[in-house]
Symmetry: C2
Subunit: 203 residues, 2 copies
């Protein structure tokens, strides 16, 4: 089964603009992508990257600037619905986490993200399509049901934790020792406890 990792190559992770420059956001995006590719590869898959602009990584890259929905739906049509998609901003991924995504015996396996997103899926049904806007996990459940596909969801914190905002960086520093965690370390980021809440501060 093809496994595709879509990534924004042009101006990624704008919600991290308050802490990182545009160049830093690109570097950090490539570090997170490296972590995802390493976990997926160690779990036995050969990932393909589809980026909106060239990115540096250890996998074949196709540049495609369609939006996420037409891109993934085009791939679903092309593969007759035999496709796995894993987002690029999941640096907490480990090989067992990726293996867990492929375990459930269902036509469509969904990995919910925090906040209603869908961070990964495995599809084995020709009728499934994606709609990533809004509470996409709810829409994907509905779309799968309407097309007659059986659905399972995985319960993984590591798959649920996509890194979008400064507050999310805490998760990388607490739960990963990969490329993204190293990058944060090199960038002078450190954990701080402020009024009982854990935050990331930059030296």
């Amino acid at each position: 089964m093809r496994l595709v990792v879509p990534v924004s190559g042009s101006d990624p992770k704008t919600r991290l603009s308050s802490v990182f420059t545009p160049d830093e956001r690109r570097e950090f995006t490539e570090a997170m992508l490296a972590d995802v590719l390493a976990a997926v590869g160690a779990a036995g898959h050969s990932p393909e990257v589809v980026a909106t602009a060239p990115v540096a990584c250890d996998a074949p890259v196709t540049v495609d600037d369609r939006g996420l929905d037409p891109l993934v739906n085009g791939l679903l049509a092309e593969t007759d619905g035999e496709l796995a998609v894993v987002m690029a901003d999941l640096p907490l991924l480990t090989p067992p986490t990726v293996e867990g995504l492929f375990e459930p015996d269902a036509d469509v396996v969904l990995a919910p993200g925090l906040g209603g997103g869908t961070n990964a899926f495995v599809c084995r049904h020709p009728g499934f399509r994606v709609d990533y806007h809004g509470a996409s996990i709810r829409d994907h459940r509905r779309i799968a049901r309407e097309t007659g596909a059986t659905v399972a969801e995985v319960d993984s914190r590591r798959l649920a934790t996509d890194i979008d905002e400064p507050g999310d960086l805490v998760e990388v520093m607490l739960h990963s020792d990969g490329a993204a965690a190293d990058w944060l370390d090199d960038a002078g980021c450190d954990l701080a406890v402020d009024n009982g809440r854990v935050t990331v501060e930059r030296a």
Copy 2:
């Protein structure tokens, strides 16, 4: 093994004050507690509740107004380190999630919460103690290591999702159909999509 669910009975969930009255916060806390007790019970355990003030629930309740650290460390001493603790604000719990917490063959099994907390643990070692302040997951790893205990961590979004802030309510509405989700529904809460982000609005 004793399984204890600590809960604040007096003025719980103050970070939800912007959306719920004190009475509502108490009701919602009891609804979340009911979900936790149901999941834990269905997984074959007989939970005990320890509350800072009386709470209504379907389990034996002890009122104890010590702080969380002295309470749990007292229980660890009392049980010679054979103890499970599951927080009361985890309404996404399901029986398989609870079973997963008991699966790893380690002296101390930790369930990280989002933001650096420790939402549940299973202890089978006399030397382990807790320190819930700050990035407690990091401290608990260290404490377990220092006492010579083997440590495992579970990768569960449902165990990681403690409900503290208005933004967390989205997770209850998207991923649960238990008492807390029903309570939110009855309170007129509904999902809304605002600028691509999913939020909860109250009618």
